[in-house]
Point group: C2
Chain length 355, copies 2
């Protein structure tokens, strides 16, 4: 190692104290390594005196078990992989926090994999997982991995417990933790309809996305329930990002006949869309109502504040982590958990001007 980063350090101890091993503890406590190991893993199987001596020796040496050795032998890593499509997306951060919290309490660490739409990364993490670097994984990306190139050369079958979070994975027989996207979307449409809206536009998520499919079904269901026709011209493509919301807004502004309300399937898009409407001189909700989905932090402080569907993000993360831990520890789990969403009524939706 070059000295560049350490040129003038002074108060550091000169002797690089080798980390204490179980051997050192055993010697100090005058027992065998087996007893030390048992004192930690199964205290009830060790006499109180021996246990006390071991604990004292551990405190004295600052012993921390070497995880590599432990996991090599026991085939457990106490690590969980969280796979998500885009780490920089606001929507995920609170979910992650819920996951991290719960994992931490159970003694598990969290490794994050941001797929970023890259198949190579996906393949890498599939191998990573297959290699036994983690005990289980939480998938937020809507599909299993390692599913791509089957052909020759066994594609490293994933055998560890998996849990799907938010985006249900169709063919997979793994626990799913999610919200009822369809019902939530339908609920929002019914709310808009109840206020008198008849021409309701829909800003979609990315094509083929399972959330998108569900929300779109909910959208149509809501229309149907209200006896309104479905008009494909009122479906505007988006991909959940702010930018796509901005773009959707531009398309809307350019129209001669506009919808009276727009249901955006993410808050980011709703906020981006409102921005564009403002720039064009349109007012929300006076000229056009805008609804979102997710209830991210900024929804409440947007101007106007955003009517949206609240997703219990932290709880979703906690639930997924809990299920995975149950799975890892051999406890029975539910195959599907659906958390409740909530329609949050704020200022971006009002009855249309002339109904």
């Amino acid at each position: 190692m070059d000295e560049a980063g350490q040129g003038d350090m002074a108060e550091q101890e000169a002797i690089p104290v080798r980390a204490a091993r179980i051997q050192d503890v055993a010697k100090l406590a005058e027992v065998s390594t087996a007893t030390v190991s048992r004192a930690l893993a199964t205290p009830e199987r060790v006499s109180p005196e021996a246990r006390a001596r071991v604990l004292e020796a551990i405190a004295k040496t600052g012993y921390v078990p070497n995880p590599a050795a432990r996991s090599l032998r026991s085939q457990k890593t106490f690590m969980v992989l969280v796979v998500l499509p885009d780490l920089s997306n606001t929507f995920f951060s609170k979910i992650l926090r819920g996951i991290e919290e719960t994992l931490f309490e159970a003694g598990y660490g969290m490794i994050i994999s941001d797929l970023d739409g890259s198949p190579e990364k996906e393949a890498h993490f599939a191998a990573f997982t297959a290699a036994g670097r983690v005990d289980g994984a939480i998938l937020l990306n809507g599909h299993l991995f390692g599913q791509t190139r089957e052909g020759e050369g066994q594609p490293a079958r994933i055998t560890i417990p998996l849990v799907a979070l938010c985006e249900a994975i169709p063919g997979a027989d793994i626990p799913q933790i999610e919200i009822d996207n369809r019902a939530a979307a339908s609920r929002m449409i019914q709310h808009l309809v109840a206020l008198g809206h008849r021409r309701i536009a829909y800003v979609s998520g990315p094509a083929n996305n399972i959330l998108e499919r569900e929300r779109f079904l909910g959208f149509k269901e809501g229309l149907e329930a209200a006896g309104l026709p479905f008009d494909p011209a009122l479906v505007i493509p988006g991909d959940y990002t702010i930018e796509s919301g901005v773009a959707a807004g531009q398309g809307l502004v350019a129209r001669t006949v506009r919808p009276t309300a727009v249901f955006c399937t993410s808050d980011e898009m709703a906020i981006g869309l409102m921005r564009t409407l403002f720039s064009a001189g349109l007012r929300v909700p006076e000229d056009i109502s805008v609804a979102g989905f997710d209830d991210i932090e900024f929804a409440a402080v947007a101007e106007p504040s955003l009517t949206t569907i609240h997703q219990p993000r932290r709880e979703l993360g906690q639930a997924a982590a809990t299920v995975l831990i149950d799975l890892l520890q051999g406890r029975p789990t539910l195959k599907q958990i659906r958390l409740e969403t909530e329609l949050v009524i704020r200022d971006s939706v009002k009855p249309p001007r002339q109904s």
Copy 2:
């Protein structure tokens, strides 16, 4: 394991294929395990024929080296710990992405630790680090860990390479990657002054936070440069969150003599503050100008769009990861890297009404 999660799986192969070991590959390729290992680690030290046979065998068996075994022997984990104070904070997510990207390319995995203000978590991760579970760490939380209880029982000294990101760590002799917070804050004040503002309020970050200290110094520096007096009454406490911005706004609304401009040291606070001003019937920037700091995604689409300081978040993450990797691989590194910020002028700041 209970069957709850796996009741009716069908197409799964019945034989739980034990993952291939280096032995299996060696046998198939008709070489020794040493040759297999070398074919992967130092291909140039293996004959082309042997290498080809090994690679073929690897492909055929789907062999992936067992990381626990590897790291037990080589004392390397190819894992990096990222310590941050709040995972659910928007500001960090893009930084994380920059880190993850760079680590991934270099073959490192990322473990995340959300300290959440909990000393226990901090102690835990200090032990975690000391135990050799990671090769290095990136600290976003502004202080070293394991620094707490020195006393008896050696407190598991951290000896692995560390890098401080965003929040410089005063006494520590480790590389720092950051922006020039002071200069950036000063720059913003000068911009406000140049537009004619004389009464400029400052919404602070949490007390004792190093970013806060620097930005506050910059604020005062900016005032001084303009020959304006520093008025403690114009300093409003905050903690970078939306909520604290909302609270700061309430305080402001209640005043009889208001500043003509408010410099919030985070975009979140600026957005929360604008919200409160709107609710009270004040207009931004007509009645009062508002500036932020960070340039998060929502700054551009806020209403009005937010004048702020752009931080190259992704690049910050990349730079920190790059420095850490250099450190890990024994290359020389810089001790301090300061990335450029940029004043982004948008619509939330205008000259005061009567100057």
